[in-house]
Amino acid sequence: MLILALDTSAAASAALVSDGVVLGRFASTDTRSHAEVLAPAVEQLLFDAGVAGTGLDALAVGVGPGPFTGLRAGIATARMLAFVWNVPLHGVMSLDAVALDADHAEGEFAVATDARRKEVYWARYRAGSALPELVDGPHVGPAESVPDLPVYGRGAGLYAGRLAGTAHATELTPDAVALARVAERTLADGGALRATTPLYLRESDAKVPGPRKKALL
């Protein structure tokens, strides 16, 4: 199965994976240039691998949670590519990619990524044979709200002192290679992936104006 995976829930990353073998990968380091770098990266990956977009078996995109503007760049890109190439598109929760990379041998653990505003996005997993199993989440909240378990990911690193549990793999962020593997294994097991509806977890912050009391207010 030939999969192109994209994730922009933290940094921007893209990967072309065929039956578990990584044919190409791209990862940006910053979190604010997704709309600039992602399309050129996709073009380069396909070109280098000599693959046509229409030859893909599936597209997978990280649906967050993640900072809104960056997250949308990846989903907008994936939806358009899937539409034009007429390739099946699947959504994958971005924390699932971190959970796969967490390399946790047994038992339960948590994954946390940077949600800005001094909060983390987090979810709780149980180690499994092929894929970690999502037990709870995703949520957004302060580091104190993450369960007392080993916590993996950049969100754990940022607030290690405020976690009930212990921080591990503190630079780990959602990556397209792991995302592609999650998608591939889930599909291979006959499982279902998500729609590409973004997991914003937070409202838009807009306030409905109250009734006017004084005109100048």
């Binding site: 709309a35 399309a39 949308r72 907008a76 890109t77 034009v84 838009s204 409905v208 100048l216």
Partner: protein
């Protein structure tokens, strides 16, 4: 690339309209628009994050609708175009990401164009060419500008603009103060018809000599506008009515407010035209559908010997056809595509027609 009569697909997402338009040279084929306006009503103004969320969900369906309407296959398109600025950055980002993906997936060249100049580009549709000595007055919820257009594809200059609120924004804020709905423009326009525009003398921003100067020695804001003081004056007037326990003459306030906005917009626009050799003026933007603005612009242009063009309303509000029309002109003039490495620019100047 077919440069004589290119088939161009344009994408617009700078504010609250998701637009996909298709043109062939200067012929409009379709103009599909999905607006999130309804979702902003309860907030009394455009909420950028809500607009961005709506763009993401509307993008592919709007594209499909445009292709179906125009009976065009993506394969046949010569070039793609997208608004890369100015506008709300989160909203622009969705259109730019989608347009780049479309370019990668189809292998078609992509042109990143200026939203404000694209508003002028609609003047090309069906007319075929723009008049010489052209100016453009753009009035909407997001902008209030007067431009000089020497060459649409390469030489556009900003003569004046608002230094605070856009005119449409002032309408929204005053409509809120008056307890009218959103968007404020149509609500105030309707109510104003029953009021006396001379009942209350509201201030005309930046109209004092120290801002205007003289033709020989122009002041710092000769062709600029300001609407925040006007909004405050309306609020003060209403507070004063309430303090005195008199009923607010709502229709008179609406009419007098509208007169203040329209008077200062048109007088400064015509001043800018006459002093810059502009003999044709295009009126664009969402507020171009305001009845009093159309009327007074027409009267004052006629008196000054300026030929006025007002495109149909569907092309005055934000849309993808204007983006496609501008890109088609750029292509016919020999312009080169922008590649796919560019970013959005929320304050892109009009001197940058395309990237």
């Amino acid at each position: 690339m077919n440069r004589s009569e290119p088939l161009v697909l344009g994408i617009e997402s700078s504010c609250d309209e998701t637009g996909v338009g298709i043109v062939r040279g200067t012929t409009l084929l379709t103009n599909a628009v999905s607006s999130s306006m309804e979702e902003h009503v309860r907030f009394g103004g455009v909420i950028p994050e809500i607009a961005s969320r709506a763009h993401l969900d509307a993008m592919v369906p709007t594209l499909q609708q445009a292709l179906a309407d125009a009976d065009v296959e993506l394969l046949d398109v010569d070039a793609l175009a997208v608004t890369s600025g100015p506008g709300l950055s989160g909203a622009l980002m969705v259109g730019v990401a989608a347009a780049k993906a479309l370019a990668v997936a189809t292998g078609k060249p992509l042109f990143a164009v200026n939203h404000l100049v694209a508003h002028v580009g609609v003047g090309l549709l069906d007319a075929g060419r723009l008049p010489d000595n052209l100016g453009a007055l753009l009035v909407s919820g997001g902008h209030t500008e007067i431009l000089r257009v020497r060459n649409l594809a390469s030489d556009v200059e900003l003569l004046g603009s608002t230094i605070d609120d856009a005119a449409g924004e002032a309408y929204d804020k005053v409509a809120r103060i008056l307890g009218l709905g959103y968007p404020g423009g149509p609500a105030i326009d309707r109510l104003a018809a029953q009021g006396d525009p001379a009942a209350i003398r509201f201030p005309r921003g930046l109209s004092q000599p120290k801002y205007l100067g003289t033709p020989e020695q122009p002041g710092p804001h000769r062709y600029d506008w300001s609407f925040s003081g006007l909004k405050t004056a309306v609020a003060r007037f209403i507070e004063d009515c309430e303090a005195r326990g008199v009923e607010v003459p709502v229709a008179d306030v609406a009419a007098s407010f509208q007169e203040a906005v329209v008077d200062i917009i048109t007088s400064k626009a015509v001043l800018a035209c006459t002093e810059n050799g502009i003999t044709s003026l295009l009126l664009g933007g969402g507020v171009a559908s305001n009845s009093r603005l159309r009327q007074l612009t027409r009267e004052r242009c006629e008196a000054a010997g300026i030929t006025l063009t007002i495109p149909p309303s569907s092309l005055c509000t934000d849309n993808g056809a204007m983006v496609a029309a501008l890109a088609a002109r750029i292509i016919m003039d020999g312009g080169e595509p922008s590649g796919i490495g560019f970013g959005t620019d929320s304050s892109m100047p009009v001197t940058t027609v395309h990237l």
